[in-house]
């Protein structure tokens, strides 16, 4: 999505020190949208480690690993309740009777202790044990997609592989009918093509998502099967069985948080592989190193930017912040911080400290991290083992987008079949 328009700059609030201002539009910065992580490296070198940008209504950006590491744990100072739960409840209560339930994406948008309560039912199905059991079926899905393009000698990786894979895995895990793949891919695409949406459209989209699952939700409540929806019906929150509203909240969350995130991770990783023939050769020779490569790719190309809201007036890293101001945990910069990772721009399979926070730190650690790791590792393994050396298509360079998930719009690959 090239040529995004910069948002208007708003005036600097009086308490923001002049030295803490840096102009960066995380949705539309031209250099960022042209080659995201090159621009992140530039920010790491040249922008203050904590700064305020006048773009997109004005907000704070945390860049250093140390700042993000401490802010992610301090949920009282840096709250996830972008709209407080009380406001949401009051708003929902004012809706005319008969309005369908508006999904609230718990547990992402609540702080502990409510966060702990709403997250608990999801921890086991997304834990390493449950996810590792899915490996074979994920590998089969990946093979199917790769084999469709192998003989052709080229593909658009995002549309043909990175997007359908997580959607198929999602449908399988949830127990949703696979023949509705087309419908779900349309919903994902609508979700992606609308990066800074109007709240009314968000609600409509959430309704479409939950409406598409309603039949299956009801069927599984009556007749459980071996899938996530059935399992969630059998769990409890505060000793009470889940309601249809709870189930719709979870479904909306898993849909929104679980699909475009991992596909963009795949895009960054496969682009790196396509530009690094020596690494491809090394990994084809030593496939057991794909595990390390997956971690280093996550570090080098961290791609999510979780928002927070300042919970009380405070001074953070010497800078005054006011209650209600928005803060971005700019994870891509944390994982390129030279204080933590010497020569951060280097992809290094043997890096001493390869422990990144691509899945964020603290209690909101990405619930889907185990699934994402498995999907990423499998897609790299299968791309390397089923295709010969692949490169970027020189006549069709990749395109990128900014936003809360900085990602890849298109990635054209070529190889000699």
């Amino acid at each position: 999505m090239t040529a995004a328009t910069l948002s208007a700059a708003v005036p600097k609030p009086a308490h923001v020190p002049d030295g803490a201002v840096y102009d960066f539009d995380m949705f539309a910065d031209p250099a960022y949208c042209a080659d995201p992580h090159e621009r992140v490296l530039d920010l790491v070198r040249n922008a203050p480690p904590v700064f305020w940008t006048p773009r997109n209504g004005g907000h704070w950006m945390l860049l250093s690993h140390a700042a993000i590491f401490s802010a992610a744990r301090d949920t009282e100072s840096f709250s996830s309740e972008m709209i407080p739960m009380d406001h949401i409840k009051a708003m929902l209560a004012k809706m005319p009777p008969g309005t369908p339930h508006i999904p609230v994406v718990v547990p992402i948008c609540v702080d502990p202790p409510a966060h702990t309560k709403y997250r608990a039912p999801l921890n086991r199905p997304f834990g390493p044990k449950a996810i590792n059991a899915l490996k074979d079926s994920i590998r089969a899905l990946a093979n199917e997609l790769i084999d469709k393009v192998a003989a052709r000698g080229h593909c658009e990786f995002m549309r043909e592989i990175a997007e359908p894979l997580p959607v198929s895995v999602f449908l399988k895990m949830m127990g949703l009918p696979l023949e509705r793949m087309g419908e779900y891919r349309e919903l994902v695409r609508a979700h992606l093509s609308d990066p800074e949406p109007d709240p009314r459209n968000v609600v409509k989209k959430l309704w479409q998502i939950t409406a598409s699952m309603r039949d299956t939700l009801l069927e599984r409540r009556a007749q459980p099967r071996d899938d996530l929806i059935s399992l969630l019906w059998q769990t409890q929150i505060d000793g009470n069985p889940l309601t249809m509203d709870d189930m719709e909240n979870y479904c909306a969350l898993l849909f929104i948080a679980g699909l475009d995130t991992v596909m963009n991770g795949m895009g960054h990783g496969v682009r790196h592989l396509a530009r690094d023939q020596a690494l491809q050769a090394e990994l084809r020779k030593n496939p057991q190193r794909v595990n390390d490569a997956t971690e280093e790719l996550l570090r080098r190309y961290t791609f999510t930017i979780p928002p927070r809201i300042v919970g009380k007036d405070l001074v953070f890293e010497g800078i005054p912040m006011k209650k209600g101001e928005r803060v971005m945990l700019f994870l891509p910069a944390a994982d390129l911080d030279p204080k933590e990772y010497p020569n951060p721009e280097r992809f290094d399979l043997d890096r001493q400290n390869s422990v990144h926070i691509a899945f964020n730190a603290g209690p909101h650690r990405c619930l889907g991290s185990h699934l994402a790791r498995v999907e990423l590792q499998i897609i790299y393994e299968q791309m390397l083992s089923r295709l010969p050396a692949f490169r970027l298509d020189p006549s069709n360079p990749p395109a990128f987008h900014g936003g809360h998930v900085v990602g890849v719009d298109s990635l054209h690959l070529v190889w000699t079949p």
């Binding site: 834990g127 390493p128 044990k129 422990v355 603290g362």
Partner: protein, 65 residues
Amino acid sequence: MKIRIDKAKCVGNARCAAVSAELFPLNDEGYIAVEEIDVPPGMEEAALRGARACPERIIVVEEGK
């Protein structure tokens, strides 16, 4: 060699168990199940690597016991 873990601060990355599932037992939800581990002889290297792998930095290895 002993491992001490600030269990309450575990957020379930499970990176320690990815180094050694034997040394770092997880509960069913994928969070660390214990606060203290006596490292069996021969597993010192895995203990150190598992501790280093924790993004939350809550695993400490105490040498010489």
